[in-house]
């Protein structure tokens, strides 16, 4: 959900009913990208189709490089971006995984590539539906990640993405849910090109690959220097918050919409807070409203920016909250939901923190319904949790555990079931 800004510049933007994938294409077009290289994969295909048509029709003055794989797509963009042009690609799931080596390279080479990533489950079993496992497996590559909630936000975040990436000289991926966004049509305001041009001036790289002045790019770096370079990457992302907030704020001034890095909802006096991301947030808001109507003090915190992780904002908004549940449409096997891990890590060294429970739901495109969210909120409000000081200074006994038989069902207490029968896991037992 965006915040409308009063001082938005007056313009007469075009409104179109677009599928999320086409909102991506329009975003890239408005940013006047110069090189596009991509390989089609469900559910991202229409992104590439429309961009190739825009190039063919001359609506977008860009070189479209068809390739034989996602690895090559990113490699082509690395080469192109090194010469100092704005570049774009889109992929999903196994495509992203095949790209993995080049994903690291793009970040290490400090190239401000922007990519649309359609969240899709990873096989086997073969599955083309929404799941955050693909993008989150690229968590530590150096790419910024923005999880969006609506088709308008898709388009707007692509534009913001270049502003941020080119300021920090780090790549950014805009992550949208398969089908819930990629194939769903929504009214989208297409900003005026001149305003986008004003917001996003042509890319002027600090250093470019130029045959007239040849240098070695990406060559050997000895131990004496490698760490410093890695430090610079970490530093760029650790201090990114003002840059991203400014990009979002300026966007709001020009276009009338800004999104924040995280978005609090009915948090002020909330005792239990559900942390969400992406499209599940919309469903969660309506359930929060219902619980509030019943007098239950629940609130919501949406995480939009996953990398760099907005630790400061998480601490501020979750300060003093008694119970925190994290909804994860992903699973970090052996450790639980990934957003939950991140929230826990952010709060770990913060004294005024509540317990964090992690709820795994909606894997492989299973719908996260109001009933699902209700079941999670009820569990969050009611579950018995160890109280502080309960152990009286003694380390805990290791709970008895029997190895799980293949094909076994979760033992009692590991999962809850929503009223409409959908299974929800508790990622790691509290």
């Amino acid at each position: 959900m965006s915040h409308t800004t009063a001082e938005a510049k007056k313009s007469s933007p075009l409104k179109k009913v677009l599928m999320g994938n086409h909102a991506v294409s329009w975003g890239a077009r408005l940013c006047r990208v110069k090189v596009i290289s991509a390989y089609p994969i469900t559910p991202q295909t229409q992104v590439v189709e429309m961009l190739s048509e825009m190039c063919a029709k001359g609506e977008l003055d860009a070189k479209f490089i068809p390739v034989e794989s996602e690895h090559s797509a990113m490699a082509a963009l690395i080469g192109a971006a090194s010469t100092g042009v704005r570049t774009f690609t889109a992929t999903s799931s196994h495509g992203l995984l095949l790209m993995h080596e080049m994903i690291h390279w793009a970040a290490g080479a400090r190239l401000p590539i922007v990519m649309a990533e359609v969240n899709r489950a990873i096989g086997p079993g073969w599955n083309i539906w929404a799941d955050q496992g693909d993008s989150l497996s690229q968590r530590d590559t150096g790419w910024m990640q923005c999880y969006v909630e609506s088709n308008q936000e898709v388009l707007d975040t692509i534009i913001q993405g270049y502003k941020i990436a080119e300021t920090l000289m780090m790549p950014l991926m805009v992550v949208l849910d398969a089908f819930y966004l990629s194939h769903t049509y929504e009214p989208v305001e297409i900003p005026d090109q001149s305003l986008v041009d004003e917001y996003l001036p042509p890319y002027t790289p600090p250093q470019i690959l130029d045959p007239a002045h040849p240098h070695a790019f990406g060559g050997l770096v000895p131990p004496e220097h490698y760490m410093e370079m890695r430090y610079k990457m970490q530093e760029a992302l650790e201090r990114a918050r003002p840059v991203i907030e400014e990009a979002d704020g300026e966007f709001g001034k020009i276009f009338g919409r800004s999104y924040g890095l995280v978005e609090p909802y009915r948090l002020e006096d909330a005792e239990a807070v559900l942390v969400t991301s992406a499209t599940a947030t919309g469903t969660a808001r309506t359930v929060i409203d219902r619980f509030r109507n019943e007098g239950k003090k629940v609130g919501l915190l949406k995480i939009r920016l996953f990398r760099p992780f907005p630790t400061d904002l998480i601490r501020r908004y979750l300060h003093g909250k008694k119970r925190i549940g994290v909804l994860d449409r992903n699973i970090g096997f052996g450790a639980g939901g990934i957003f939950a891990q991140e929230v826990k890590a952010a709060l770990c060294n913060y004294p005024e923190r509540g317990p964090v429970l992690d709820y795994i739901a909606g894997l492989g495109g299973r719908d996260i319904t109001p009933a699902t969210i209700s079941a999670i909120l009820n569990d969050l409000l009611e579950r018995k949790l160890p109280s502080p000081g309960q152990l009286r200074g003694h380390p805990p006994e290791l709970p008895p555990q029997k190895p799980c038989k293949p094909g076994g069902v979760p033992p009692e207490g590991a999962g809850i079931v929503s009223p409409d029968g959908e299974m929800i896991w508790i990622g790691v037992r509290p």
């Binding site: 250093q207 790019f217 370079m229």
Partner: protein, 600 residues
């Protein structure tokens, strides 16, 4: 180890501080790419050596005048050849392995017609370089005589004029052009096209004297004042069928028939004031299977007759151009294959029928006829030769066009030792050297473009003799390999059908001698020129430049330059050249200069 005074001084990513130009990766190489243009097969296939690829490339770039100027360096009559040539260039065109040959003759005609329409003139012979021969023009202005104003004679005159010589062409008939004027009907070659191209020679200063038959109006002595003579009297004699009934009215040689057809409108006994009626001749038989036979058959159709062509072999063996045969059949000409004439039947002296025999069945048949046209070959009229050499089948000439003494085994004794002298048995000191070409020469195929080529060879021979130059090669620069289809990387080409010429409707065709094909418009020409593969010749497509992984190829106004200091010899450029204009060369075997330098 590089030490940085602070972390801020370090680049933010792995980037060499200095230039990488110090790293001369060319030392890794043992083979190297080279730009090496080959001879396109079309040019090799053209007897006149037309630089087809070159002028097509210029058409593609809409540099029409340059294209024409390049074309006429090899052939003075593109508007003529574009219409009547049997286009061996298209037979040789590599594109026929891919989809179908480039319509080179249509493009040749396009340029020829455009030049006539625009009235383009040739650059004056005083131009410092004469690219037709790649030599300076001779300083002295000498006079040369040409006997015969057909394609061979005029071609020789043209090339010598371009070299700066003064030319006089003697023509036996009342108008210049030889067989082009008398032997080709208007629907294939309009008169104004021919006269237009010939008049360009007059503008160059070539003097054409008509009504001057060698041996009658013009004697050997008359030619004594010239520095050289080129004989191109043609082959105007038609051999008899040698069957009974041949003598008398109603039997015409093909050449005589066409000569009458080609007379100015109304002046021919065959012609009524307009085409469409041929008084007294409703059933015409044409005997023969060459282009002359087709011309006669199709002309007779236009004059309103029913026409049957009688040929002794099968259609596929006919020497006529395939398209001509096809057109004749379309126009309603009947073809009787594997049939030989036995005798001509007459009633009261008038031809009524031809008796003939099928070689397949051995059966005889009688074909009604009131005009029989024989087109079974031609031979030269050498009665001008002193000592009477009328029985000779043709003049023997060597590769330079010099007339040889048949009695001496065909070898030239010396530049002056020629047939004409030995036959006369005398040796006047002032006699100029004789060269020959065209249909009268034994070794020249009797086709327009071969005649043009022989004129060009004669001009070159005369030039070499008079200016004491070394002999040059026949067609194209020496030692060039022909670019074969297998040398091309056809991945880069898309199948494209040829651009057709528009034709007038069939019913219109038979009503008049109007030319049946309309030439290309600018757009169609450009479209067809784009189909040229440019076999073996770099046309600056940039593929090598784009593909070089080491950016070791530079684009300069003079062409591509390979930086061998950095080229690793990977060969990607050669592989990706669509036209085979690059090659790899092993360096150790070809000098290995860099290696010696490295080792020093």
């Amino acid at each position: 180890m590089i030490h940085f005074s602070s972390r801020d001084k370090m680049p933010s990513f792995a980037l060499s501080l200095g230039t990488t130009l110090v790293n001369k990766t060319g030392t890794w190489r043992y083979v190297r790419p080279l730009y090496r243009n080959l001879l396109p097969p079309c040019q090799e296939g053209c007897p006149a050596g037309e630089p087809v690829q070159g002028y097509l490339d210029l058409v593609r770039r809409e540099a029409y005048r340059q294209a024409w100027e390049l074309l006429v360096q090899a052939n003075p009559f593109p508007a003529v050849c574009g219409r009547v040539c049997y286009h061996p260039c298209e037979t040789a065109c590599n594109r026929h392995f891919f989809d179908s040959s480039v319509k080179i003759h249509h493009l040749e005609r396009f340029l020829g017609d455009l030049a006539l329409e625009k009235g383009w003139e040739l650059p004056p012979p005083s131009a410092s370089k004469e690219a037709a021969f790649g030599k300076e023009i001779p300083g002295a202005s000498r006079e040369i005589a040409i006997v015969g104003s057909g394609p061979a004679g005029l071609s020789c005159a043209y090339f010598l004029a371009r070299l700066g010589y003064r030319l006089t062409v003697f023509e036996a008939l009342s108008a210049p052009g030889g067989m082009l004027a008398s032997g080709i009907p208007e629907y294939r070659l309009p008169k104004e096209v021919l006269s237009g191209e010939i008049s360009r020679l007059s503008l160059m200063g070539v003097k054409i004297v008509t009504g001057a038959r060698f041996g009658k109006d013009l004697s050997l002595e008359d030619l004594g004042r010239f520095q050289a003579v080129f004989l191109a009297p043609g082959a105007p004699l038609a051999p008899p069928l040698q069957i009974p009934g041949e003598e008398g009215e109603g039997v015409l040689s093909g050449l005589d028939f066409l000569d009458q057809v080609n007379l100015p409108r109304g002046a021919s006994p065959l012609q009524a004031p307009a085409a469409g009626s041929m008084p007294g001749h409703s059933q015409v038989l044409v005997i023969g299977g060459g282009n002359t036979a087709m011309d006669c058959a199709r002309s007779a159709r236009r004059l309103g007759a029913q026409v049957t062509v009688v040929y002794r072999k099968t259609r596929s063996q006919m020497p006529a151009i395939g398209e001509e045969v096809e057109d004749a059949l379309q126009e309603g000409v009947t073809l009787l294959e594997s049939t030989i004439p036995l005798r001509i039947l007459r009633e009261e002296g008038r031809v009524v029928a031809l008796e003939c025999k099928s070689l397949l069945t051995g059966e005889a048949s009688t074909l009604p006829a009131d005009l029989i046209v024989t087109a079974i070959g031609q031979s030269p009229d050498l009665s001008f030769l002193p000592g009477g050499a009328g029985s000779l089948k043709g003049l023997s000439i060597d590769q330079q066009g010099r007339v040889l003494d048949e009695d001496k085994g065909g070898a030239p004794r010396d530049p002056q030792g020629l047939l004409l002298e030995s036959r006369t048995g005398s040796r006047p000191g002032s006699r100029p050297p004789f060269f020959a070409g065209g249909d009268a020469a034994l070794s020249i195929p009797r086709r327009v473009v071969d005649a043009i080529a022989s004129g060009k060879r004669g001009a070159l021979g005369i030039y070499q003799l008079l200016e004491s130059r070394e002999s040059a090669s026949e067609s194209g620069p020496p030692g060039l390999t022909v670019a074969e289809y297998s040398f091309l990387n056809t991945v880069y080409f898309a199948k494209t059908p040829p651009t057709p010429l528009q034709r007038i409707a069939m019913e219109e065709r038979l009503k008049s001698f109007r030319e049946i094909e309309r030439g290309y418009a600018l757009q169609a020409a450009g479209q067809e020129a784009l189909r040229c593969f440019s076999c073996g010749v770099c046309n600056s497509c940039d593929n090598c430049w784009l593909f070089c992984p080491d950016t070791a190829i530079a684009r300069t106004p003079e062409g591509y330059v390979i930086a061998y200091d950095y080229c690793k010899g990977c060969g990607v450029c050669v592989r990706e050249c669509p036209r085979g204009a690059m090659t790899m060369e092993e360096e150790l075997n070809s000098g290995g200069a860099w290696l010696k330098e490295e080792m020093r």
